[in-house]
C-alpha cells in the first residue's frame, strides 16, 4: 500500500530540507510510525511511503480501517498537516454478482497453520462453500469461491479462523452481498435476412453468464417493429437444446408492412428462473419483408368447349407458407393471340372445395383456338400471384382443330393436373412427414423414468395411502 502526500507552496529558494512524520493506526488501535526527508527545490512536490514495508512492526493482517496522520516537523512544526485512511478486507469486493468469483484473503496466521474459512448466510453455513487451507510461510491464505447462476442472493458473512494461531485482536470476519447477475446476449441474428409475408422468421441468440457458462433456462420477449415503427409484435424466445441457442419464431402477417423490420431484445427482456436477467443494453437486428407472391394452381374443368358451353375456371391460391388464400380478389382474363376474349371473369371462393371458381360462357362471336386463361390473385395489401392455362375452344364457324392442337392441349392439361396433385399431396402430407413416432425410443425413455427411485417412492406412498383409506373405510363399516 503506497501512501502519497502532495505539497504545494513549499519553500524552495534556497533549497530547503523538510521532514514529515507518518503515523498509521491499525484496526486494533496500535500505531506505527516512520519519517520522510525531502529537500525542497520546487514549489510543489510529493513524497511517498509504503505501508507496512516502511513502518517498523506494521502489518496488514487485521481487517478494518487504517487511519493515517502526517505531521510536518521541519522546517516548521505543524501537527496533522494531512490525514487519511484505507480499509483492509477479507474479500476483494463488498458486493458480487452471481457467477463472479468471491476472493478471500487473510494474513497474520502461523505458517503452515490449518485455517478454516466459513461462509454463512442468515447465520447458516453455506453448503456450497466449505474450505480449509494451510497458511503459507508468510501466514497468508487465499481462497476463491465460484458462485453459480442459482447461488442464493443476499447478505453473506465470511469468517477466517486459524487452528493454532492465537485469536486476533480484530477477528477476520466480513460481510458481503451477492446480487443476481447480468446475462450477456451475443449473436442475435435472424434465420432469414429477407422473406415474404406469411413466411416464418426465426431468431437465434446466445446467452451467457459472466465467465462464459451458457444460459439454458428462461425465456425472452423479442419485440418486432414493422417499417415506420407504428406497429409492434412480440414473440417469445426460449432455449433450444438441439440448436444450443435461444430461438424464437414469428409468422409475418399477410398484411404486415413491407420493408425493413426491426427485432429487438430490450434491456432485461431475458430472464432465467433464478432472477438473473439481461441484456444490459438493447440488441437489435433487421430483416426485409417483401409482399407475398401468391401461388395460383389452376385446374380447368373442361378441356374442349363449343359455343354455349361454360368454361369453368377453378384453382387454388396459396400464400408462401402454404396456407389457403381465401380473402382477396381473383380475376381471370382470356386472350387468344394477344386479343381479349370477353370481359375478365371474377372468381369466388368456395370454402368446401378450398378453390376459387368462375365461369365463362362461350359466345358465338368468340374465336376458336387455344385460349390462354390467365388468373391473377391479389389482396388489398399488395400481395399478388398469377398463373395461366390453355384451353381449346371450338366455335362452329371455325371448326379447324387439328390433331396437333389436341396433342398440345392434352400435354398442357396433364402437366397442370400433375402439378396440382403434387401440390395437394405435399400439403396434406405435411404433418405425417414432419412428425414421426418412434414408439421404441419413447418406450425406452419412459422405462428409464419409470425406474426412477422417486417415481417408485411416489407410487408406493400413493398405494399405501389408498390402502390406508380402504382400511379406515372397512373399520368404519
Amino acid at each position: 500500500m503506497t501512501l502519497t502526500v502532495s505539497v504545494n507552496n513549499a519553500i524552495y529558494s534556497p533549497p530547503t530540507p523538510y521532514i514529515f512524520s507518518w503515523a498509521v493506526k491499525d484496526p486494533s488501535g496500535s500505531s506505527r510510525s516512520t519519517t520522510s526527508n525531502v529537500v525542497s527545490v520546487t514549489p510543489a512536490w510529493a513524497f511517498s511511503v509504503v505501508y507496512p514495508t516502511n513502518f517498523s512492526g506494521a502489518s496488514l493482517n487485521l481487517p478494518g480501517v487504517y487511519s493515517i496522520n502526517v505531521s510536518e516537523t521541519i522546517p516548521t512544526s505543524t501537527p496533522n498537516v494531512v490525514t487519511g485512511a484505507f480499509t483492509v478486507g477479507v474479500t476483494d469486493s463488498g458486493t458480487y454478482e452471481r457467477t463472479y468469483p468471491v476472493q478471500f484473503q487473510a494474513g497474520g496466521y502461523l505458517p503452515a497453520d490449518t485455517v478454516n474459512i466459513t461462509v454463512t448466510r442468515s447465520g447458516n453455513p453455506v453448503p456450497a462453500f466449505s474450505a480449509s487451507r494451510t497458511s503459507d510461510t508468510n501466514g497468508l491464505i487465499t481462497v476463491s469461491w465460484q458462485t453459480l447462476p442459482n447461488t442464493s442472493t443476499g447478505n453473506y458473512a465470511v469468517t477466517v479462523v486459524g487452528k493454532n494461531t492465537p485469536p486476533k485482536s480484530v477477528p477476520d470476519t466480513e460481510q458481503f452481498v451477492i446480487y443476481p447477475t447480468n446475462i450477456t446476449v451475443t449473436g442475435f441474428n435472424p434465420v432469414k435476412t429477407s422473406l415474404e409475408r406469411s413466411e416464418t422468421e426465426g431468431f437465434r441468440f446466445n446467452a451467457t453468464y459472466f465467465g462464459g457458462p451458457s444460459v439454458t433456462l428462461g425465456s425472452s420477449t423479442i419485440r418486432l417493429s414493422e417499417p415506420g415503427g407504428s406497429t409492434t409484435h412480440f414473440t417469445t424466445a426460449s432455449y433450444n437444446s438441439t440448436l444450443g441457442t435461444f430461438s424464437a419464431v414469428f409468422i409475418i402477417p399477410i398484411n404486415g408492412g413491407t420493408g425493413t423490420w426491426t427485432a429487438s431484445l430490450d434491456p432485461n427482456s431475458l430472464a432465467d428462473p433464478y432472477g438473473n436477467g439481461g441484456p444490459l443494453q438493447s440488441k437489435s437486428l433487421t430483416f426485409n419483408v417483401l409482399p407475398a407472391i401468391l401461388t395460383v394452381s389452376l385446374l380447368p374443368s373442361s378441356t374442349v368447349l363449343s359455343v354455349g358451353e361454360t368454361l369453368t375456371i377453378q384453382g387454388s391460391v396459396a400464400t408462401p407458407n402454404g396456407a389457403i388464400f381465401s380473402q382477396g380478389t381473383v380475376l381471370a382474363s382470356i386472350t387468344i393471340s394477344g386479343r381479349s376474349v370477353g370481359s375478365p371473369v371474377s372468381l369466388t371462393y368456395d370454402p368446401t372445395r378450398e378453390q376459387w371458381i368462375g365461369n365463362y360462357k362461350v359466345a358465338p362471336s368468340d374465336p376458336s383456338g387455344a385460349w390462354l386463361v390467365t388468373v391473377s390473385a391479389s389482396d388489398s395489401y399488395g400481395n399478388v400471384g398469377q398463373s395461366s392455362v390453355v384451353v381449346s375452344v371450338n366455335v362452329p364457324s371455325a371448326q379447324s382443330s387439328t390433331s396437333m392442337l389436341w396433342s398440345y392441349l392434352l400435354i398442357v392439361l396433364l402437366v397442370a393436373a400433375l402439378g396440382f396433385i403434387i401440390l395437394i399431396t405435399r400439403k396434406r402430407g405435411l404433418t405425417r412427414r414432419e412428425v414421426k413416432l418412434d414408439l421404441t425410443a419413447i418406450k425406452s425413455q419412459a422405462d428409464k423414468v419409470k425406474s426412477d427411485d422417486f417415481l417408485q417412492s411416489v407410487r408406493e406412498q400413493l398405494k399405501r395411502k389408498k390402502q390406508e383409506v380402504g382400511l379406515e373405510k372397512q373399520d368404519h363399516d
Binding site: T153, F234, I251, N321, T431, D438, L439, I442, V458, L462
Partner: protein, 254 residues
C-alpha cells in the same frame, strides 16, 4: 364430486397455462365452481392471466407445501374480479419470489402435503373441478402432481421433440393408472383441420389415450402476452369456441 386435473406438458411453451386459464374460465362461465392451482413452482405464470399482483398475495402454494399456511389461506376468489354472475374461480398462486422458489425447490415437499392441500381445497370450496398447472418436463414435483390428480391432461404441439416427450409422458403416466387426455395446441395455420384430425387419431391409437381436442395457433393469444383470457375477452372468437369445447370435454371426465 370434485375432479382434479393436472394440466401438463413435456416441453415449455406449449400454451399449457393459457389452456388452463381459458378452460377454467369456460367451466366457470357454465356455472361451475373451479379451483385453479399454480404448481409451476419454477416459473409461475397464471397470475399474469388473472392480473394478480404478486406483491398483494399473502400466502402462496410454496407456503402451503412448506406447511406454513393452510390451502384456503393461499386462495384468492376471482369471481367478482372476473365479473361472473354465477360460477366461481378460486386461484392458488405460486410464489414469484426467487428466494421462495429456490427454497421450495431445495427442500421439496411430500406427497401428503400436496394431496392434503388438494383435498382441503375441494372440500372447503365445494369445487367441481380443480385444474393444476404444472411445471413442464419430468421432474419430481410434476410426478407428484400427476400421481395425486384424478386426470392428466397432456398438452403438446405438433413438433417432433414435443410429440416424442409427450409419448414418454403418457407412458410414465400409465404408472399411476389415471386417465390421460391429450390436447394438441398451437396447430400451425398451414396444417389443415382434416390433417390434424387424422394425426390426432393416430396419436390416440398409438398411445391408447383420449384425444380431448386441439387448438390452432392464435395470433391474438400470442399478441396478448398472456395478459388476458381470450374466453372472457372475445367470446365469439373461434379459438374461444375451441376452449369451450375442451371445457365441455372436461365435463365428460368420469
Amino acid at each position: 364430486m370434485t375432479r382434479s386435473i393436472a394440466v401438463h406438458s413435456y416441453k415449455g411453451g406449449t400454451g399449457k397455462t393459457t389452456l388452463t386459464a381459458n378452460i377454467a374460465v369456460a367451466l366457470a362461465l357454465k356455472g361451475r365452481r373451479v379451483g385453479i392451482m399454480d404448481m409451476d413452482l419454477e416459473g409461475p405464470g397464471l397470475h399474469v392471466f388473472f392480473d394478480v399482483d404478486p406483491s398483494q398475495v399473502r400466502f402462496t402454494m410454496n407456503d402451503v407445501l412448506a406447511g406454513v399456511a393452510a390451502p384456503e389461506a393461499a386462495t384468492i376468489r376471482l369471481s367478482e374480479k372476473l365479473g361472473f354472475n354465477h360460477g366461481e374461480i378460486y386461484y392458488c398462486p405460486a410464489s414469484t419470489r426467487v428466494s421462495e422458489i429456490m427454497r421450495t425447490l431445495k427442500t421439496g415437499y411430500e406427497v401428503d402435503m400436496f394431496e392434503n392441500a388438494v383435498k382441503r381445497l375441494q372440500e372447503r370450496f365445494g369445487l367441481h373441478y380443480l385444474l393444476i398447472d404444472t411445471h413442464p418436463g419430468i421432474q419430481h414435483d410434476t410426478l407428484l402432481a400427476l400421481g395425486v390428480c384424478d386426470h392428466q391432461m397432456l398438452v403438446s404441439r405438433i413438433d417432433q421433440q414435443d410429440i416424442f416427450g409427450t409419448g414418454v409422458m403418457i407412458e410414465v403416466s400409465t404408472t399411476f393408472e389415471k386417465p390421460v387426455h391429450l390436447v394438441l395446441n398451437l396447430i400451425p395455420p398451414r396444417v389443415r383441420e382434416a390433417e390434424v384430425s387424422k394425426f390426432a387419431r393416430t396419436l390416440s391409437s398409438h398411445f391408447a389415450v383420449d384425444m380431448a381436442g386441439w387448438v390452432p395457433f392464435s395470433e391474438e393469444i400470442i399478441g396478448s402476452l398472456s395478459r388476458s383470457i381470450l374466453t372472457l375477452k372475445t367470446p365469439k372468437d373461434p379459438i374461444t369456441a375451441r376452449f369451450r369445447a375442451l371445457a365441455e370435454r372436461v365435463e365428460t371426465f368420469a
